[in-house]
Amino acid sequence: MSTEEQIKDLMASNLHWSGSWADVDTDYPLLDNQVVDSLDMVTLISLLEDEFDVEIDDRDVVPSNFASIGRIAALVESRRQ
């Protein structure tokens, strides 16, 4: 499974978004569509850190890095190196 697919699975099973996950591709605007709830962000970061065994710097938790699944994947990949 690609990093993008893993992230999408992780989000689909942990976030309670009422939209259709079938529409969510790597470029789907997560923030404009309110896929992530404000109080779930801390949870999401922890899930990403556990799933990919990386540490995400608080300063990298910014809109540009969470705008889409593609952007989150890029952030995770950059932390893996």
Binding site: A12, H16, S18, W21, L31, I45, D58, V61, V62
Partner: protein, 536 residues
């Protein structure tokens, strides 16, 4: 006792501080004079669209400058505002709109795509007032009329419509989770709101120099402080951008850059600032008061925030929506190890609180009983629900002949040696998550509607970051994925009420009397959660 009406606060500040900033919404801001004038126009427009004294008008839009204009316009027209959770699905909101009789909605063009389904789900909408669009941008659904921003300018701005009003009139109805799956509409009068606002403005010394954050959504009663304490003092209310609340590090910088002086939110958001916001690296000299409410604040995070904001005053405000706020506790700056929990404190001015035993008698210091509240902040009842109102509001408690009714909170509490109330928990299955109060039965009612669900039980799993997470135990007639149930609930419930975990069982455990044994389920859920934490 205050005879002021909530919207009089706006007018008075517009007279005293016409050019001071009333609302900041991102790059936009309005002065008190501008806000008052626009709200007057909207009130006339609503009156011209048959909105009358005592009517309820819905607010169906994200929190914004427009939604605040909506609130004051609705109040000035003599009606009560009913904020609909802009993120909740139409299946949830339609019945609320029907219950409250919302024939008129103040809404936005971003919501236009959902009007039709809201009406299909029972909202009796005839008029949609769109404050941020023009005629070319929105198509009216069948049978409803759309009025756009340009129509507002035709109406006079120099005063509200002439409507006779009393402070016992309803100012707003806030819908909250109900145990049978039907939300309850908590009715608050102008006097109810003003009694709290007068106390809070005085106690926290809010002045025209303050900048108050507005983080809570409008359907959540924390917003009553942000909006109306600001209006009373002539202070600015600064709306926390919805997206920004996702990013703790950005939010900390935003608090600094906007010069917020009084912050009020649920503890979860403050916890996220400690955990992920690098609060210790962001200087926040302007923040002088931090208020929190809605759920228990884990003290280790509370004390971390206090150690960073050494100059600020911290207070815990407590009270179900039915009482606005009934007690409060100023967190002392003491040395040494923090206590495990903090009290909910003492009754606010003009409010009485009692612990009452099973037999209805008032208990002594130290004895645990149900918290009863009496005073001018206590609600008028549940909209259209005499039975629930009678059960919750006691009008002649202990032989009282008149005065304010007593509200039975359902909370268990006792008075400690210092005279502060200590909150212990609930008498029923109401829980808190992310500051929201949730009836577990409300979730079970929604989940039970799924064709594959034979039986279900929903329990709370305690969690430090958000107070509780929600877990559903399901007996299914055929194989069904958790993700399918998750989607199903998301279409029927507000987001904060949808279960985060599902477990499938062949049957639910029963007590000897045949009732679902929720205690066993809850204990099991806690152990599972602890085990998976340990495994990480």
């Amino acid at each position: 006792m205050s005879t002021t009406l909530v919207h009089d606060l706006l007018h008075a500040s517009a007279e005293r501080f016409p050019s001071r900033t009333a609302v900041v919404d991102g790059e936009r801001s309005v002065t008190y004079a501008e806000l008052d004038a626009t709200a007057n126009r909207l009130a006339h427009l609503l009156a011209a669209r048959r909105v009358r004294k005592g009517d309820r008008v819905g607010l169906y839009l994200d929190k914004s400058l427009e939604s605040l204009i909506g609130i004051y316009g609705i109040l000035k027209a003599g009606a009560a505002y009913v904020p609909l959770d802009p993120g909740a699905p139409p299946l949830r909101l339609g019945p609320i709109a029907r219950d409250a009789g919302l024939s008129c909605l103040v809404t936005s063009k971003a919501k236009a795509g959902l009007w039709r389904s809201l009406i299909a789900e029972g909202a009796p909408v005839e008029t949609l007032v769109v404050l941020d669009g023009d005629d070319r941008e929105v198509t009216p659904p069948d049978r409803a009329e759309v009025v756009t921003a340009s129509a507002i300018d035709e109406h006079p701005s120099d005063g509200p419509p002439d409507v006779p009003r009393a402070n016992s009139d309803l100012a707003y109805i806030l819908y909250t989770s109900g145990s049978t799956g039907v939300p309850k509409g908590v009715m608050l009068s102008h006097l109810n709101a003003m009694s709290f606002v007068d106390w809070a403005t005085g106690e926290f010394g809010v002045t025209e120099d303050d900048r108050l954050s507005s983080h809570a959504p409008l359907h959540f009663d924390l917003s009553v402080f942000d909006l109306f304490a600001a209006a009373k003092a002539g202070a600015a209310v600064v709306l926390v951008p919805q997206q920004l609340a996702l990013f703790p590090f950005e939010l900390a910088k935003w608090i600094r850059d906007t010069g917020i002086t009084v912050w009020y939110s649920v503890p979860s958001i403050l916890t996220s600032l400690v955990l992920r916001g690098r609060l210790n690296e962001t200087e926040l000299p302007a923040v002088r008061t931090v208020l929190f409410a809605g759920e228990v604040f884990p003290t280790k995070y509370l004390y971390q925030v206090m150690q960073i904001l050494t100059h600020a005053r911290f207070a815990n405000l407590f009270g179900p929506t039915e009482t606005n706020v009934c007690t409060w506790y100023e967190v002392p700056r003491s040395a040494g190890e923090p206590a495990d929990s903090i009290p909910i404190g003492r009754a606010i001015n003009g409010v009485e609180t009692f612990a009452v035993g099973e037999d209805g008698s008032v208990l002594a210091h130290g004895e645990v009983g149900e918290l009863y509240v009496r005073g001018p902040t206590v609600m008028q009842g549940y909209w259209g629900d005499e039975e629930r109102t009678k059960a919750a509001l006691l009008r002649h408690w202990q032989g009282e002949s008149g005065g304010f009714p007593v509200y039975r909170t359902g909370d268990l509490a006792y008075l400690d040696d210092n005279g502060d109330w200590i909150f212990l928990g609930r008498r029923d299955s109401q829980i808190k998550s992310r500051g929201y109060r949730i009836e577990l039965g409300d979730i079970e009612a929604a989940l039970s509607q799924h064709p594959s669900v034979l039986e279900c039980a929903v329990v709370a799993v305690p969690d430090e970051a958000v107070t509780n997470r929600i877990k559903a135990f399901v007996v299914a007639s055929e194989s069904v994925e958790a993700s399918e149930l998750s989607r199903f609930c998301a279409g029927r419930l507000p987001r904060y009420m949808t279960p985060e975990f599902y477990e499938f069982l062949d049957e639910l455990p029963r007590s000897s009397t045949g009732k679902i044994d929720r205690r066993t389920l809850a204990a099991g859920a806690q152990t599972t959660a602890a085990a998976s934490d340990a495994g990480e």
